[in-house]
């Protein structure tokens, strides 16, 4: 009887207490391990935006957001464990933050009816919503990035007959742009040289000696982690013109250029979101999050490229929740409703301005057929003296005439392999 009384009291308390509704956003972060320097600002930005919404607006549609952080160390097995341990909490959407984890979660999350948002990474052909019903990769993917780089070069002058070298991480991620760049090479008449770098990329002497010998006009880089810092340093060592060196968005944070100092000046990187902290939303972050001591980190990452990317991911998730709430007429939405919200998401200039993020990202509309948006990408450039990135182009369309057939072919092969009936 002694044991039964407390148990009965606890049961009564549980029945009597109202269930606190919340909107759960798991954050598969990597604050430790080899890529922590990139993982920390993203996780901070993601968490801080929801903290601000809770403090300023009382949540989203009156329901509090709850960020459920789980450390992956950028390790695929740990990422899957994180998914399994958090999905039962009512998780609305996963940002796997790793192409490896994304590939593992695609079948699992689809079977569980939970949405995945792999923004600027993951399986590129997931843009085909007819096959990948629960996977979204708006506003841009790796192939948009490759096309965006070529479009930018063409905007600077004729690239027919020019030499373009792709320096890439020798992994599934690094190889992503090859097919697109080859197709674009055939279309626009530039010569493409492929230069792989083995993981982790600490030693790249052979690759940059090759670049020095072959003298490409432009170098495009799909790098990650230490590979980026070493590549920028080696490019500076051989006096490659930084103006003609373009990295994908995972090779374009402060971390990637600061170690090379002044020699990194002029290096460029693709982006699908704004840079810096000159947006009204950051005043709200300061007031409601940093000043109240609620920041996820030390508050020293605000405005950095990867912090902004985390914040942008959180903003897109929050806007999808609002869309879902409107569609279904309920505030406390479930994962299936969240998926519907993501599929009907529309981001306009007016909406971005209203959120305190005017011009921060491209306008786009998601549909059942297109989970990747129009693939609008912009270009940023590093100013070593000011230690700032600046947006040096508009968010421009990528060559969907080339990319769409590639997306269709790859996604339909996946559908055939996994016996998925494509359709909306």
């Amino acid at each position: 009887m002694k044991m039964k009384l407390p148990a009965m009291a606890l049961s009564a308390l549980m029945i009597a207490s109202p269930v606190m509704a919340d909107l759960v956003f798991p954050s598969l972060s990597y604050r430790t391990g080899p890529y922590a320097a990139g993982g920390i600002p993203f996780a901070d930005g993601y968490a801080d935006y929801f903290t601000m919404l809770n403090a300023r607006d009382g949540g989203i549609g009156g329901v509090e957001a709850r960020v459920l952080e789980c450390e992956t160390g950028y390790n695929t097995e740990k990422g899957v464990e994180c998914y399994e341990s958090t999905k039962g909490e009512g998780a609305l959407v996963y940002q796997p933050l790793s192409t490896g984890i994304t590939y593992q979660l695609i079948p699992k999350a689809t079977a569980d009816g939970i949405a995945i948002h792999s923004m600027g990474y993951g399986r590129t052909s997931a843009a085909n919503g007819k096959v990948f019903s629960n996977v979204f990769n708006y506003p841009a993917n790796y192939w948009n990035g490759a096309s965006g780089a070529v479009n930018y070069l063409m905007s600077q002058g004729d690239i027919s007959g020019k030499k373009v070298a792709l320096v890439y991480h020798n992994s599934a991620y690094g190889k992503e742009p090859i097919r697109t760049l080859e197709e674009l090479s055939a279309k626009h008449g530039y010569d493409l040289t492929l230069i792989p770098v083995d993981h982790p990329g600490q030693e790249q002497k052979s690759q940059w000696l090759q670049i020095r010998r072959e003298k490409p006009d432009y170098v495009i880089m799909y790098g990650w982690g230490v590979m980026n810092q070493v590549a920028v340093q080696e490019a500076a060592n051989i006096r490659f013109n930084m103006e003609n060196f373009i990295g994908i968005w995972w090779s374009g944070s402060e971390n990637d250029v600061l170690p090379a100092g002044d020699k990194a000046n002029g290096y460029k990187a693709l982006t699908f979101h704004g840079v810096g902290s000159d947006f009204p939303v950051f005043a709200d972050i300061q007031k409601h999050v940093v000043d109240t001591g609620s920041a996820a980190g030390a508050g020293d990452q605000i405005g950095t490229v990867l912090y902004n990317r985390g914040l942008y991911a959180a903003m897109l998730a929050a806007e999808a929740v609002k869309t879902a709430q409107e569609i279904h007429g309920v505030a406390d939405i479930n994962p299936a409703q969240m998926r519907d919200g993501m599929e009907a998401l529309e981001i306009t200039e007016e909406k971005m301005a209203g959120l305190g993020l005017p011009g921060f990202g491209p306008s786009f509309k998601v549909s059942c057929e297109n989970h990747g948006g129009p693939g609008l990408v912009g270009m940023t450039q590093w100013d070593a003296a000011a230690k700032t990135w600046s947006l040096v182009s508009d968010f421009s369309e990528s060559d969907m005439d080339v990319i769409q057939p590639l997306i269709d072919a790859d996604s339909m092969a996946y559908a055939a392999e996994n016996k998925i009936e494509a359709g909306c």
Partner: protein, 328 residues
């Protein structure tokens, strides 16, 4: 002279330079293995930790700032001063000596007489511990390391070779400095182990630690000394690699580059580490230059380990390693 041969000469020279950098990492492994029979898995992390400590001291960073701020609600990050590179290096060496003392006192003293695999496992634990402590002390940001070493193309070599071959060779000034420092380091270590009392005691311990103990050599002191020297070598490697890429977690992965060097040169030979490093450096660079384009490139890691494996088959103790015959 054919163009390809000129290019190959440039690649060969750069391979030699890269080999020196690999040898720097391998040296730390050799020192500890030779003196205590421990394969120190934590050597790469020691390079990372020492480089982080050096940058932290130079920048006047408050160690454990995040922990202090979280506990006491403060907002301290820097002391407000900077420390000159040379003084910071000396202070970092002192930290590594303290680290060596702590490792000996709290880990290996309690494991005397244990199987080598137990000692190896202990160093794995030490590596993870040190990774975590390094992040807690100095945070996990990528840090620029500038101790005043020159970087970039060497103009004199560029001009000289251009006049001869009509093509200027690229040799990085940092690699030249690394070669000079490695030569000094090896020379110093050889003189120390051959002519100093402590060096002779270290060799005696390496030969037979029980016999050394019986003639009054302090095992404890020798092991602390060896770990300190390995810490110093790790610092030198950390400075060289950290200057290239910034000081970051991936520095700990340079140990992967040392393994084939050790397999090739032998785990117990200081000259073996140097020669092994040079062979791996030159071999992988020339292979990548000649064969890489035919097989899609990125052959360097693969080639280094394949070469080491071939050596293992024909000479398991490596080029200069001691042949150990155990009777059962």
């Amino acid at each position: 002279m054919p163009e390809q041969l000129v290019f190959a000469m440039e690649v060969f020279l750069n391979g030699l330079m890269a080999g020196v950098l690999y040898a720097l990492v391998a040296l730390g492994f050799v020192l500890i293995f030779k003196a205590s029979g421990i394969f120190n898995y934590a050597q790469g992390v020691m390079a990372l930790f020492s480089a982080m400590t050096l940058v932290g001291i130079m920048k006047g960073q408050v160690p454990f700032a995040h922990v202090i701020n979280a506990i006491f609600g403060t907002d301290v990050h820097y002391f407000g001063w900077t420390v000159p590179a040379l003084l910071a290096i000396i202070l970092t060496v002192a930290v590594m000596v303290l680290f060596a003392w702590a490792v000996q006192k709290y880990i290996f003293r309690h494991l005397v007489g244990q199987e080598p695999i137990i000692l190896f496992m202990a160093t794995i634990g030490l590596a993870y511990f040190l990774e975590g402590v390094g992040d807690l002390m100095w945070n996990s940001e990528i840090k620029k390391l500038d101790v005043g070493l020159p970087q970039g193309i060497n103009e004199a070599i560029d001009n000289y070779t251009f006049n001869i071959f009509d093509y200027g060779f690229f040799i990085d000034n940092l690699d030249i400095v690394a070669t000079l420092i490695a030569a000094l380091l090896v020379g110093g270590l050889v003189i120390f182990s051959q002519y100093s009392k402590e060096g002779r005691a270290m060799r005696a311990v390496a030969d037979d630690h029980q016999a050394a103990l019986s003639v009054g050599v302090s095992l404890n002191f020798i092991w602390i000394m060896v770990w300190s020297v390995a810490g110093f070598v790790a610092l030198v490697a950390g400075i060289m690699w950290g200057t290239k890429s910034g000081v970051q977690f991936s520095l700990s992965l340079i140990a992967l580059k040392a393994l084939p060097v050790l397999m090739l040169g032998g785990f117990t030979s200081i000259p073996g580490a140097i020669v092994g490093g040079l062979i791996i450096g030159v071999g992988e660079k020339l292979f990548e230059f000649a064969i890489g384009p035919m097989v899609g490139g990125a052959t360097e890691n693969w080639f280094a380990y394949v070469l080491a494996l071939i050596f293992l088959v024909f000479r398991p103790q490596g080029l200069f390693g001691e042949k150990i015959i155990e009777r059962v």
